[in-house]
Protein backbone atom coordinates (compact mmCIF):
# COMPACT_ATOMS: atom_id res chain seq x y z
CA UNK A 1 0.00 0.00 0.00
CA UNK A 2 1.48 3.22 -1.12
CA UNK A 3 0.24 6.78 -1.43
CA UNK A 4 -1.91 6.87 1.68
CA UNK A 5 -0.21 7.22 5.02
CA UNK A 6 -2.05 5.85 7.96
CA UNK A 7 -2.50 9.41 9.05
CA UNK A 8 -4.08 10.32 5.75
CA UNK A 9 -6.18 7.21 5.85
CA UNK A 10 -7.53 7.86 9.29
CA UNK A 11 -8.32 11.51 8.27
CA UNK A 12 -10.10 10.15 5.24
CA UNK A 13 -12.08 7.76 7.37
CA UNK A 14 -13.02 10.61 9.73
CA UNK A 15 -14.19 12.74 6.83
CA UNK A 16 -16.15 9.84 5.50
CA UNK A 17 -17.86 9.41 8.86
CA UNK A 18 -18.63 13.07 9.00
CA UNK A 19 -20.17 12.98 5.48
CA UNK A 20 -22.17 9.95 6.40
CA UNK A 21 -23.48 11.67 9.53
CA UNK A 22 -24.41 14.77 7.56
CA UNK A 23 -26.08 12.65 4.91
CA UNK A 24 -28.06 10.84 7.56
CA UNK A 25 -29.11 14.16 9.10
CA UNK A 26 -30.15 15.49 5.75
CA UNK A 27 -32.01 12.31 4.98
CA UNK A 28 -33.84 12.49 8.29
CA UNK A 29 -34.72 16.11 7.60
CA UNK A 30 -35.99 15.21 4.17
CA UNK A 31 -38.18 12.44 5.51
CA UNK A 32 -39.58 14.77 8.14
CA UNK A 33 -40.36 17.39 5.51
CA UNK A 34 -42.14 14.84 3.33
CA UNK A 35 -44.17 13.67 6.29
CA UNK A 36 -45.09 17.26 7.06
CA UNK A 37 -46.16 17.80 3.53
CA UNK A 38 -48.37 14.63 3.61
CA UNK A 39 -49.79 15.71 6.91
CA UNK A 40 -50.86 19.05 5.47
CA UNK A 41 -52.01 17.46 2.18
CA UNK A 42 -54.30 15.12 4.06
CA UNK A 43 -55.49 17.63 6.63
CA UNK A 44 -57.16 19.86 4.03
CA UNK A 45 -60.95 19.52 4.03
CA UNK A 46 -61.24 19.97 0.28
CA UNK A 47 -60.30 17.10 -1.99
CA UNK A 48 -56.92 17.59 -3.59
CA UNK A 49 -55.90 15.74 -6.71
CA UNK A 50 -52.58 16.01 -8.48
CA UNK A 51 -52.79 15.25 -12.19
CA UNK A 52 -50.08 14.73 -14.72
CA UNK A 53 -49.89 17.95 -16.72
CA UNK A 54 -49.74 16.05 -19.99
CA UNK A 55 -51.82 12.90 -19.67
CA UNK A 56 -54.26 14.16 -17.04
CA UNK A 57 -53.80 10.93 -15.07
CA UNK A 58 -54.19 11.10 -11.30
CA UNK A 59 -50.82 11.00 -9.58
CA UNK A 60 -51.78 11.68 -6.01
CA UNK A 61 -54.89 12.27 -3.90
CA UNK A 62 -55.48 13.37 -0.34
CA UNK A 63 -57.69 11.70 2.25
CA UNK A 64 -60.60 14.04 1.59
CA UNK A 65 -60.48 13.09 -2.12
CA UNK A 66 -60.54 9.39 -1.25
CA UNK A 67 -63.54 9.90 1.01
CA UNK A 68 -65.32 12.02 -1.58
CA UNK A 69 -64.88 9.65 -4.50
CA UNK A 70 -65.00 6.48 -2.40
CA UNK A 71 -61.59 5.19 -3.48
CA UNK A 72 -58.32 4.22 -1.78
CA UNK A 73 -55.22 6.22 -2.57
CA UNK A 74 -53.82 3.25 -4.50
CA UNK A 75 -57.01 2.92 -6.57
CA UNK A 76 -56.96 6.62 -7.28
CA UNK A 77 -53.42 6.78 -8.53
CA UNK A 78 -53.32 6.11 -12.24
CA UNK A 79 -57.07 6.85 -12.71
CA UNK A 80 -58.18 8.88 -15.66
CA UNK A 81 -60.21 12.15 -15.23
CA UNK A 82 -63.16 10.44 -16.91
CA UNK A 83 -63.12 7.76 -14.19
CA UNK A 84 -64.12 10.53 -11.81
CA UNK A 85 -66.59 12.29 -14.15
CA UNK A 86 -70.28 11.48 -14.61
CA UNK A 87 -70.04 11.44 -18.40
CA UNK A 88 -73.49 13.10 -18.70
CA UNK A 89 -73.89 15.49 -21.64
CA UNK A 90 -71.66 18.50 -21.01
CA UNK A 91 -69.27 16.48 -18.82
CA UNK A 92 -67.32 14.44 -21.36
CA UNK A 93 -63.69 13.90 -22.37
CA UNK A 94 -63.95 16.75 -24.92
CA UNK A 95 -64.95 19.20 -22.24
CA UNK A 96 -62.15 17.95 -19.96
CA UNK A 97 -59.64 18.53 -22.75
CA UNK A 98 -60.98 22.01 -23.34
CA UNK A 99 -60.67 22.86 -19.62
CA UNK A 100 -57.09 21.65 -19.49
CA UNK A 101 -56.23 23.60 -22.63
CA UNK A 102 -57.79 26.69 -21.02
CA UNK A 103 -55.57 26.57 -17.98
CA UNK A 104 -52.52 26.11 -20.21
CA UNK A 105 -53.16 29.73 -21.23
CA UNK A 106 -54.65 31.31 -18.10
CA UNK A 107 -53.12 29.16 -15.37
CA UNK A 108 -56.31 28.74 -13.31
CA UNK A 109 -59.98 27.88 -13.78
CA UNK A 110 -62.96 27.52 -11.44
CA UNK A 111 -66.11 25.73 -12.58
CA UNK A 112 -68.92 23.46 -11.44
CA UNK A 113 -68.70 19.85 -12.48
CA UNK A 114 -70.62 16.62 -12.46
CA UNK A 115 -68.29 14.21 -10.70
CA UNK A 116 -68.76 10.48 -10.21
CA UNK A 117 -68.09 8.33 -7.18
CA UNK A 118 -66.65 4.85 -7.48
CA UNK A 119 -70.19 3.56 -6.94
CA UNK A 120 -71.19 5.36 -10.14
CA UNK A 121 -73.32 7.91 -8.30
CA UNK A 122 -72.96 11.35 -9.89
CA UNK A 123 -72.66 14.42 -7.68
CA UNK A 124 -72.06 18.13 -7.98
CA UNK A 125 -68.60 19.59 -7.28
CA UNK A 126 -66.83 22.89 -7.68
CA UNK A 127 -63.40 22.45 -9.22
CA UNK A 128 -60.45 24.87 -9.01
CA UNK A 129 -57.72 23.94 -11.41
CA UNK A 130 -54.22 25.33 -11.19
CA UNK A 131 -51.31 24.51 -13.43
CA UNK A 132 -48.17 24.16 -11.38
CA UNK A 133 -44.71 22.63 -11.34
CA UNK A 134 -43.90 20.09 -8.67
CA UNK A 135 -40.37 18.67 -8.45
CA UNK A 136 -39.64 20.18 -11.85
CA UNK A 137 -42.58 18.33 -13.50
CA UNK A 138 -45.68 19.83 -15.16
CA UNK A 139 -48.66 19.14 -12.94
CA UNK A 140 -52.31 20.14 -12.62
CA UNK A 141 -53.52 20.61 -9.09
CA UNK A 142 -57.30 20.18 -8.66
CA UNK A 143 -59.11 21.41 -5.55
CA UNK A 144 -62.54 19.77 -5.51
CA UNK A 145 -65.40 20.76 -3.20
CA UNK A 146 -68.67 18.78 -2.88
CA UNK A 147 -71.48 21.29 -3.55
CA UNK A 148 -74.39 18.81 -3.45
CA UNK A 149 -75.89 20.69 -0.49
CA UNK A 150 -75.49 24.02 -2.20
CA UNK A 151 -77.03 22.67 -5.40
CA UNK A 152 -79.91 21.16 -3.42
CA UNK A 153 -80.49 24.48 -1.71
CA UNK A 154 -80.31 26.25 -5.05
CA UNK A 155 -82.65 23.68 -6.56
CA UNK A 156 -85.08 24.09 -3.67
CA UNK A 157 -84.87 27.83 -4.04
CA UNK A 158 -85.47 27.58 -7.79
CA UNK A 159 -88.41 25.26 -7.25
CA UNK A 160 -89.82 27.58 -4.61
CA UNK A 161 -89.44 30.49 -6.99
CA UNK A 162 -90.99 28.53 -9.87
CA UNK A 163 -93.85 27.47 -7.67
CA UNK A 164 -94.35 31.01 -6.49
CA UNK A 165 -94.30 32.19 -10.05
CA UNK A 166 -96.78 29.56 -11.15
CA UNK A 167 -98.98 30.40 -8.20
CA UNK A 168 -98.81 34.05 -9.06
CA UNK A 169 -99.66 33.16 -12.65
CA UNK A 170 -102.51 30.93 -11.54
CA UNK A 171 -103.84 33.53 -9.14
CA UNK A 172 -103.57 36.16 -11.85
CA UNK A 173 -105.53 33.88 -14.17
CA UNK A 174 -108.11 33.29 -11.47
CA UNK A 175 -108.38 37.00 -10.84
CA UNK A 176 -108.69 37.65 -14.55
CA UNK A 177 -111.44 35.05 -14.77
CA UNK A 178 -113.23 36.51 -11.75
CA UNK A 179 -112.86 39.92 -13.27
CA UNK A 180 -114.29 38.75 -16.55
CA UNK A 181 -117.14 37.06 -14.73
CA UNK A 182 -117.78 40.23 -12.77
CA UNK A 183 -117.78 42.25 -15.94
CA UNK A 184 -120.22 39.75 -17.45
CA UNK A 185 -122.40 39.99 -14.38
CA UNK A 186 -122.36 43.75 -14.50
CA UNK A 187 -123.27 43.60 -18.18
CA UNK A 188 -126.02 41.09 -17.44
CA UNK A 189 -127.32 43.21 -14.62
CA UNK A 190 -127.27 46.23 -16.90
CA UNK A 191 -129.16 44.29 -19.55
CA UNK A 192 -131.75 43.04 -17.10
CA UNK A 193 -132.01 46.52 -15.62
CA UNK A 194 -132.54 47.89 -19.11
CA UNK A 195 -135.14 45.21 -19.80
CA UNK A 196 -136.82 46.01 -16.49
CA UNK A 197 -136.93 49.69 -17.30
CA UNK A 198 -138.27 48.90 -20.77
CA UNK A 199 -140.98 46.75 -19.23
CA UNK A 200 -141.83 49.50 -16.78
CA UNK A 201 -142.04 52.00 -19.61
CA UNK A 202 -144.12 49.64 -21.75
CA UNK A 203 -146.48 48.95 -18.90
CA UNK A 204 -146.81 52.63 -18.08
CA UNK A 205 -147.50 53.36 -21.74
CA UNK A 206 -150.06 50.59 -22.08
CA UNK A 207 -151.49 51.65 -18.73
CA UNK A 208 -152.04 55.19 -19.98
CA UNK A 209 -153.51 53.99 -23.27
CA UNK A 210 -155.83 51.45 -21.73
CA UNK A 211 -156.90 53.92 -19.06
CA UNK A 212 -157.74 56.47 -21.74
CA UNK A 213 -159.52 53.81 -23.79
CA UNK A 214 -161.49 52.62 -20.85
CA UNK A 215 -162.35 56.13 -19.73
CA UNK A 216 -163.40 57.18 -23.19
CA UNK A 217 -165.42 54.02 -23.68
CA UNK A 218 -167.06 54.20 -20.30
CA UNK A 219 -167.70 57.93 -20.53
CA UNK A 220 -169.23 57.46 -23.95
CA UNK A 221 -171.56 54.82 -22.66
CA UNK A 222 -172.46 56.73 -19.53
CA UNK A 223 -173.08 59.95 -21.46
CA UNK A 224 -174.89 58.40 -24.39
CA UNK A 225 -177.62 57.03 -22.15
CA UNK A 226 -178.81 60.42 -20.83
CA UNK A 227 -178.13 62.05 -24.18
CA UNK A 228 -180.27 59.47 -25.91
CA UNK A 229 -183.05 60.10 -23.38
CA UNK A 230 -182.76 63.88 -23.78
CA UNK A 231 -183.02 63.65 -27.54
CA UNK A 232 -186.08 61.44 -27.45
CA UNK A 233 -187.82 63.50 -24.79
CA UNK A 234 -187.07 66.80 -26.50
CA UNK A 235 -188.18 65.54 -29.90
CA UNK A 236 -191.39 64.05 -28.52
CA UNK A 237 -192.02 67.33 -26.76
CA UNK A 238 -191.39 69.36 -29.91
CA UNK A 239 -193.57 67.05 -32.02
CA UNK A 240 -196.42 67.14 -29.50
CA UNK A 241 -196.31 70.91 -29.32
CA UNK A 242 -196.29 71.15 -33.08
CA UNK A 243 -199.35 68.92 -33.32
CA UNK A 244 -201.22 70.71 -30.54
CA UNK A 245 -203.41 73.68 -31.15
CA UNK A 246 -200.85 76.04 -32.59
CA UNK A 247 -202.25 79.23 -31.10
CA UNK A 248 -201.90 77.93 -27.55
CA UNK A 249 -198.19 77.35 -27.78
CA UNK A 250 -195.61 79.95 -28.49
CA UNK A 251 -193.37 78.99 -31.42
CA UNK A 252 -190.33 79.77 -29.23
CA UNK A 253 -191.18 76.75 -27.05
CA UNK A 254 -191.12 74.44 -30.04
CA UNK A 255 -187.87 76.03 -31.09
CA UNK A 256 -186.46 75.47 -27.61
CA UNK A 257 -187.43 71.80 -27.54
CA UNK A 258 -185.92 71.34 -30.99
CA UNK A 259 -182.76 73.12 -29.87
CA UNK A 260 -182.46 70.84 -26.85
CA UNK A 261 -182.61 67.79 -29.09
CA UNK A 262 -180.11 69.35 -31.48
CA UNK A 263 -177.63 70.17 -28.74
CA UNK A 264 -177.95 66.67 -27.32
CA UNK A 265 -177.14 65.32 -30.78
CA UNK A 266 -174.15 67.59 -30.90
CA UNK A 267 -172.93 66.33 -27.54
CA UNK A 268 -173.42 62.77 -28.81
CA UNK A 269 -171.27 63.59 -31.81
CA UNK A 270 -168.50 64.92 -29.53
CA UNK A 271 -168.62 61.74 -27.49
CA UNK A 272 -168.41 59.66 -30.64
CA UNK A 273 -165.31 61.57 -31.78
CA UNK A 274 -163.71 61.16 -28.38
CA UNK A 275 -164.24 57.42 -28.60
CA UNK A 276 -162.71 57.23 -32.02
CA UNK A 277 -159.71 59.09 -30.73
CA UNK A 278 -159.10 56.38 -28.14
CA UNK A 279 -159.71 53.14 -29.99
CA UNK A 280 -159.52 49.88 -28.18
CA UNK A 281 -156.16 48.35 -28.92
CA UNK A 282 -156.53 44.81 -30.19
CA UNK A 283 -154.20 42.47 -28.31
CA UNK A 284 -151.00 41.55 -30.10
CA UNK A 285 -150.85 37.87 -29.32
CA UNK A 286 -147.61 35.95 -29.18
CA UNK A 287 -146.51 32.77 -27.42
CA UNK A 288 -145.75 33.62 -23.83
CA UNK A 289 -144.31 31.64 -20.90
CA UNK A 290 -146.59 32.34 -17.91
CA UNK A 291 -143.86 31.84 -15.29
CA UNK A 292 -141.58 34.38 -16.99
CA UNK A 293 -144.32 36.98 -17.40
CA UNK A 294 -145.27 36.57 -13.73
CA UNK A 295 -141.64 36.75 -12.59
CA UNK A 296 -141.12 40.03 -14.44
CA UNK A 297 -144.11 41.69 -12.81
CA UNK A 298 -143.11 40.31 -9.42
CA UNK A 299 -139.65 41.82 -9.85
CA UNK A 300 -141.25 45.17 -10.73
CA UNK A 301 -143.32 45.01 -7.56
CA UNK A 302 -140.32 43.99 -5.44
CA UNK A 303 -139.67 47.38 -3.87
CA UNK A 304 -143.31 48.12 -3.11
CA UNK A 305 -143.71 44.75 -1.42
CA UNK A 306 -140.56 45.23 0.65
CA UNK A 307 -141.53 48.75 1.67
CA UNK A 308 -144.96 47.54 2.74
CA UNK A 309 -143.48 44.55 4.57
CA UNK A 310 -145.58 42.14 2.54
CA UNK A 311 -144.59 38.48 2.42
CA UNK A 312 -144.88 37.27 -1.15
CA UNK A 313 -145.50 33.69 -2.23
CA UNK A 314 -145.24 33.04 -5.96
CA UNK A 315 -146.34 29.73 -7.39
CA UNK A 316 -145.80 29.86 -11.15
CA UNK A 317 -144.01 26.79 -12.39
CA UNK A 318 -141.77 27.11 -15.42
CA UNK A 319 -143.39 23.94 -16.78
CA UNK A 320 -146.68 25.79 -17.34
CA UNK A 321 -147.70 25.56 -21.00
CA UNK A 322 -147.17 28.49 -23.30
CA UNK A 323 -150.22 30.68 -23.82
CA UNK A 324 -150.93 32.89 -26.81
CA UNK A 325 -151.50 36.35 -25.41
CA UNK A 326 -150.43 39.98 -25.42
CA UNK A 327 -147.71 39.91 -22.80
CA UNK A 328 -147.74 43.59 -21.89
CA UNK A 329 -151.54 43.70 -21.59
CA UNK A 330 -151.68 40.60 -19.38
CA UNK A 331 -148.82 41.92 -17.27
CA UNK A 332 -150.85 45.10 -16.93
CA UNK A 333 -153.68 43.03 -15.46
CA UNK A 334 -151.39 41.25 -13.00
CA UNK A 335 -149.75 44.54 -12.05
CA UNK A 336 -153.18 46.13 -11.43
CA UNK A 337 -154.29 43.23 -9.25
CA UNK A 338 -151.04 43.18 -7.29
CA UNK A 339 -151.12 46.94 -6.73
CA UNK A 340 -154.72 46.71 -5.55
CA UNK A 341 -153.68 43.91 -3.19
CA UNK A 342 -150.84 46.00 -1.76
CA UNK A 343 -153.16 48.95 -1.21
CA UNK A 344 -155.83 46.72 0.32
CA UNK A 345 -153.36 45.62 3.00
CA UNK A 346 -152.51 49.10 4.26
CA UNK A 347 -154.60 48.57 7.40
CA UNK A 348 -153.48 44.96 7.90
CA UNK A 349 -150.89 44.46 10.71
CA UNK A 350 -147.45 44.19 9.14
CA UNK A 351 -146.87 40.61 10.24
CA UNK A 352 -150.14 39.50 8.64
CA UNK A 353 -149.56 40.93 5.17
CA UNK A 354 -149.49 38.06 2.73
CA UNK A 355 -149.69 38.14 -1.03
CA UNK A 356 -150.05 34.92 -2.99
CA UNK A 357 -149.64 34.89 -6.74
CA UNK A 358 -150.51 31.56 -8.26
CA UNK A 359 -150.58 30.48 -11.90
CA UNK A 360 -151.80 27.03 -12.88
CA UNK A 361 -153.63 25.10 -15.54
CA UNK A 362 -157.37 24.74 -15.18
CA UNK A 363 -158.93 22.73 -17.97
CA UNK A 364 -158.15 24.52 -21.25
CA UNK A 365 -157.19 27.79 -19.58
CA UNK A 366 -154.34 29.35 -17.71
CA UNK A 367 -155.68 30.52 -14.38
CA UNK A 368 -153.95 33.24 -12.37
CA UNK A 369 -154.98 34.06 -8.81
CA UNK A 370 -153.84 37.00 -6.70
CA UNK A 371 -154.75 36.54 -3.05
CA UNK A 372 -154.29 39.17 -0.35
CA UNK A 373 -154.98 39.48 3.36
CA UNK A 374 -156.34 42.99 2.94
CA UNK A 375 -159.48 44.82 3.96
CA UNK A 376 -161.64 42.94 1.47
CA UNK A 377 -164.42 44.32 -0.72
CA UNK A 378 -167.27 46.16 1.04
CA UNK A 379 -170.09 43.69 1.64
CA UNK A 380 -172.61 45.69 -0.38
CA UNK A 381 -170.32 45.56 -3.44
CA UNK A 382 -169.07 42.01 -3.08
CA UNK A 383 -172.10 40.51 -4.75
CA UNK A 384 -172.15 42.98 -7.61
CA UNK A 385 -169.31 42.10 -9.95
CA UNK A 386 -170.70 44.37 -12.67
CA UNK A 387 -170.21 47.33 -10.42
CA UNK A 388 -166.86 46.15 -9.06
CA UNK A 389 -165.37 45.78 -12.52
CA UNK A 390 -167.15 48.79 -13.96
CA UNK A 391 -165.39 52.04 -14.66
CA UNK A 392 -165.27 54.76 -12.00
CA UNK A 393 -165.84 52.28 -9.19
CA UNK A 394 -163.22 52.61 -6.49
CA UNK A 395 -162.88 51.75 -2.81
CA UNK A 396 -159.91 54.08 -2.60
CA UNK A 397 -160.50 57.76 -1.81
CA UNK A 398 -158.02 58.78 -4.51
CA UNK A 399 -158.76 55.97 -6.95
CA UNK A 400 -159.93 56.64 -10.47
CA UNK A 401 -161.65 53.27 -10.57
CA UNK A 402 -160.15 52.25 -13.89
CA UNK A 403 -157.83 49.41 -12.85
CA UNK A 404 -160.38 46.61 -12.63
CA UNK A 405 -162.38 47.90 -15.60
CA UNK A 406 -159.23 47.87 -17.70
CA UNK A 407 -158.28 44.46 -16.37
CA UNK A 408 -161.64 43.06 -17.32
CA UNK A 409 -161.46 44.57 -20.80
CA UNK A 410 -158.02 43.06 -21.34
CA UNK A 411 -158.92 39.63 -19.98
CA UNK A 412 -162.14 39.51 -22.00
CA UNK A 413 -160.31 40.61 -25.13
CA UNK A 414 -158.26 37.42 -24.65
CA UNK A 415 -161.42 35.36 -24.32
CA UNK A 416 -160.95 34.94 -20.58
CA UNK A 417 -162.89 35.84 -17.44
CA UNK A 418 -162.04 37.75 -14.28
CA UNK A 419 -163.75 37.59 -10.91
CA UNK A 420 -163.27 38.31 -7.23
CA UNK A 421 -163.94 36.04 -4.27
CA UNK A 422 -163.76 36.99 -0.60
CA UNK A 423 -161.35 34.72 1.27
CA UNK A 424 -162.87 32.64 4.08
CA UNK A 425 -160.50 34.18 6.64
CA UNK A 426 -159.39 37.58 5.42
CA UNK A 427 -158.92 39.55 2.23
CA UNK A 428 -159.84 38.89 -1.36
CA UNK A 429 -158.73 36.66 -4.20
CA UNK A 430 -158.88 38.04 -7.72
CA UNK A 431 -158.73 35.39 -10.40
CA UNK A 432 -158.53 35.59 -14.16
CA UNK A 433 -158.31 33.03 -16.92
CA UNK A 434 -156.68 33.03 -20.34
CA UNK A 435 -157.70 30.22 -22.71
CA UNK A 436 -154.73 28.37 -24.19
CA UNK A 437 -156.45 28.24 -27.57
CA UNK A 438 -157.06 31.73 -28.96
CA UNK A 439 -160.82 32.01 -29.23
CA UNK A 440 -162.84 33.54 -31.99
CA UNK A 441 -165.23 35.34 -29.68
CA UNK A 442 -162.48 37.79 -28.88
CA UNK A 443 -164.12 40.64 -30.78
CA UNK A 444 -167.50 40.17 -29.30
CA UNK A 445 -166.34 40.00 -25.70
CA UNK A 446 -164.14 42.96 -26.33
CA UNK A 447 -166.95 45.16 -27.46
CA UNK A 448 -169.75 43.54 -25.50
CA UNK A 449 -168.28 44.37 -22.11
CA UNK A 450 -167.81 45.86 -19.73
CA UNK A 451 -171.42 45.44 -18.72
CA UNK A 452 -172.80 47.72 -16.13
Amino acid sequence: MSGFSSEQYSRLIEELHSYQAELETQNRQLLASDANYREIFNAVNDALLVHDGTTGKVLDVNAAACAMYGVTPDEARGMDVMDLTSGEPGYTQDVVNRRIAEIADVGTAVFEWRAKRKSGEPFWVEVSLRRTTIGGRDRVLAVVRDITERRLAEEALRRARDELESRVTQRTEELTAVNARLREEVAERKTSERRRRQLEADLAHVGRLTTMDEMAGSLAHELNQPLGAIVLHAEVLAAKMRNACSSAIAPELIESATAIAKQAHRAGELVRRMRQFAKHATPKRAPLAPSEAVAEVVSLMGNDLRDAGIALVVDADSSLPVVSADKILLQQVLLNLMRNAVEAMTATPRNARWLDVQAKVDGDSLIVAVRDTGCGIPVEKAGRPDELFGAFFSTKSDGLGMGLAISRSIVESHGGRIWATPNPDQGTTFTFTVPFAAEDREHESNTDGPRR
Binding site: H221, Q225, L232, V236, H265, D448, R452
Partner: protein, 124 residues
Protein backbone atom coordinates in the same frame (compact mmCIF):
# COMPACT_ATOMS: atom_id res chain seq x y z
CA UNK B 1 -207.94 46.06 -39.03
CA UNK B 2 -204.88 44.80 -37.13
CA UNK B 3 -204.76 45.27 -33.38
CA UNK B 4 -202.46 47.88 -31.90
CA UNK B 5 -198.84 46.82 -32.46
CA UNK B 6 -196.77 46.10 -29.38
CA UNK B 7 -193.16 47.26 -28.96
CA UNK B 8 -191.08 45.43 -26.37
CA UNK B 9 -188.27 47.51 -24.90
CA UNK B 10 -185.31 45.90 -23.08
CA UNK B 11 -183.23 48.69 -21.62
CA UNK B 12 -181.57 48.99 -18.20
CA UNK B 13 -181.23 52.78 -18.08
CA UNK B 14 -184.45 54.19 -16.52
CA UNK B 15 -184.14 57.60 -18.23
CA UNK B 16 -183.72 55.97 -21.62
CA UNK B 17 -186.57 53.56 -20.92
CA UNK B 18 -188.95 56.36 -20.02
CA UNK B 19 -187.98 58.37 -23.11
CA UNK B 20 -188.51 55.32 -25.34
CA UNK B 21 -191.88 54.62 -23.75
CA UNK B 22 -193.07 58.20 -24.24
CA UNK B 23 -192.00 58.16 -27.87
CA UNK B 24 -193.53 54.79 -28.68
CA UNK B 25 -196.80 55.70 -26.95
CA UNK B 26 -196.87 58.88 -28.98
CA UNK B 27 -196.66 56.70 -32.07
CA UNK B 28 -199.83 55.04 -30.84
CA UNK B 29 -198.27 51.68 -30.04
CA UNK B 30 -198.37 49.57 -26.91
CA UNK B 31 -195.11 49.43 -24.93
CA UNK B 32 -193.81 46.63 -22.71
CA UNK B 33 -190.54 47.42 -20.96
CA UNK B 34 -188.04 45.14 -19.25
CA UNK B 35 -184.88 46.11 -17.29
CA UNK B 36 -182.87 43.05 -18.35
CA UNK B 37 -182.71 40.23 -20.87
CA UNK B 38 -183.53 37.75 -18.14
CA UNK B 39 -186.65 39.70 -17.19
CA UNK B 40 -187.72 39.74 -20.82
CA UNK B 41 -187.30 35.98 -21.16
CA UNK B 42 -189.35 35.53 -18.00
CA UNK B 43 -192.19 37.98 -18.88
CA UNK B 44 -192.38 37.94 -22.67
CA UNK B 45 -195.74 36.98 -24.16
CA UNK B 46 -196.02 37.03 -27.91
CA UNK B 47 -198.35 39.67 -29.40
CA UNK B 48 -199.22 40.36 -32.98
CA UNK B 49 -197.89 42.51 -34.49
CA UNK B 50 -194.82 43.22 -32.43
CA UNK B 51 -191.12 44.11 -32.43
CA UNK B 52 -188.27 44.38 -29.95
CA UNK B 53 -186.12 47.42 -29.13
CA UNK B 54 -183.07 45.88 -27.49
CA UNK B 55 -180.12 47.49 -25.73
CA UNK B 56 -176.87 45.66 -26.38
CA UNK B 57 -175.13 46.26 -23.11
CA UNK B 58 -177.19 44.95 -20.24
CA UNK B 59 -176.45 43.62 -16.79
CA UNK B 60 -176.12 39.84 -17.02
CA UNK B 61 -177.13 38.49 -20.41
CA UNK B 62 -176.25 40.88 -23.23
CA UNK B 63 -178.55 41.95 -26.05
CA UNK B 64 -176.65 39.82 -28.55
CA UNK B 65 -176.96 36.80 -26.31
CA UNK B 66 -180.69 37.38 -25.97
CA UNK B 67 -180.98 37.56 -29.73
CA UNK B 68 -179.20 34.20 -30.05
CA UNK B 69 -181.38 32.75 -27.31
CA UNK B 70 -184.56 33.85 -29.13
CA UNK B 71 -183.39 32.45 -32.46
CA UNK B 72 -182.53 29.21 -30.74
CA UNK B 73 -186.00 28.89 -29.22
CA UNK B 74 -187.63 29.69 -32.55
CA UNK B 75 -189.01 33.13 -31.63
CA UNK B 76 -188.91 35.29 -34.76
CA UNK B 77 -189.18 38.75 -33.33
CA UNK B 78 -187.89 41.67 -35.42
CA UNK B 79 -185.15 43.36 -33.42
CA UNK B 80 -183.93 46.95 -33.37
CA UNK B 81 -180.67 47.22 -31.51
CA UNK B 82 -179.81 50.38 -29.67
CA UNK B 83 -176.41 50.96 -28.10
CA UNK B 84 -174.49 53.60 -26.23
CA UNK B 85 -171.25 51.97 -27.24
CA UNK B 86 -171.13 52.03 -31.01
CA UNK B 87 -168.83 49.49 -32.57
CA UNK B 88 -168.64 48.33 -36.17
CA UNK B 89 -167.85 44.74 -35.16
CA UNK B 90 -170.88 44.54 -32.92
CA UNK B 91 -173.06 46.17 -35.57
CA UNK B 92 -171.92 43.50 -38.02
CA UNK B 93 -172.63 40.72 -35.53
CA UNK B 94 -176.10 42.11 -34.87
CA UNK B 95 -176.85 42.31 -38.58
CA UNK B 96 -175.49 38.82 -39.19
CA UNK B 97 -177.74 37.51 -36.46
CA UNK B 98 -180.72 39.01 -38.30
CA UNK B 99 -181.51 42.33 -36.63
CA UNK B 100 -183.59 44.90 -38.49
CA UNK B 101 -181.71 48.00 -37.39
CA UNK B 102 -178.82 49.09 -35.33
CA UNK B 103 -178.97 52.55 -33.76
CA UNK B 104 -176.30 54.32 -31.77
CA UNK B 105 -177.45 56.51 -28.90
CA UNK B 106 -178.25 59.32 -29.13
CA UNK B 107 -180.38 58.83 -32.24
CA UNK B 108 -183.14 61.03 -33.70
CA UNK B 109 -186.64 59.94 -32.70
CA UNK B 110 -187.61 59.88 -36.36
CA UNK B 111 -185.03 57.19 -37.10
CA UNK B 112 -186.34 54.97 -34.35
CA UNK B 113 -189.95 55.54 -35.40
CA UNK B 114 -189.13 54.56 -38.93
CA UNK B 115 -187.22 51.45 -37.78
CA UNK B 116 -190.12 50.38 -35.57
CA UNK B 117 -192.65 50.80 -38.39
CA UNK B 118 -190.42 48.79 -40.72
CA UNK B 119 -189.95 46.07 -38.13
CA UNK B 120 -193.68 45.72 -37.53
CA UNK B 121 -194.50 45.39 -41.19
CA UNK B 122 -191.77 42.73 -41.44
CA UNK B 123 -193.77 40.55 -39.07
CA UNK B 124 -194.46 37.39 -41.06
Amino acid sequence: MNPTPTVHVVEDDPAMTSALCVLIKTMGFTVESYASAEEFLRMYRSRDPECLVLDIRLPGMSGLELQRELTKSGVSLPIIFITGHGDPVIAATAKRQGSVSYLEKPFPSQTLCQSIREAITLRP
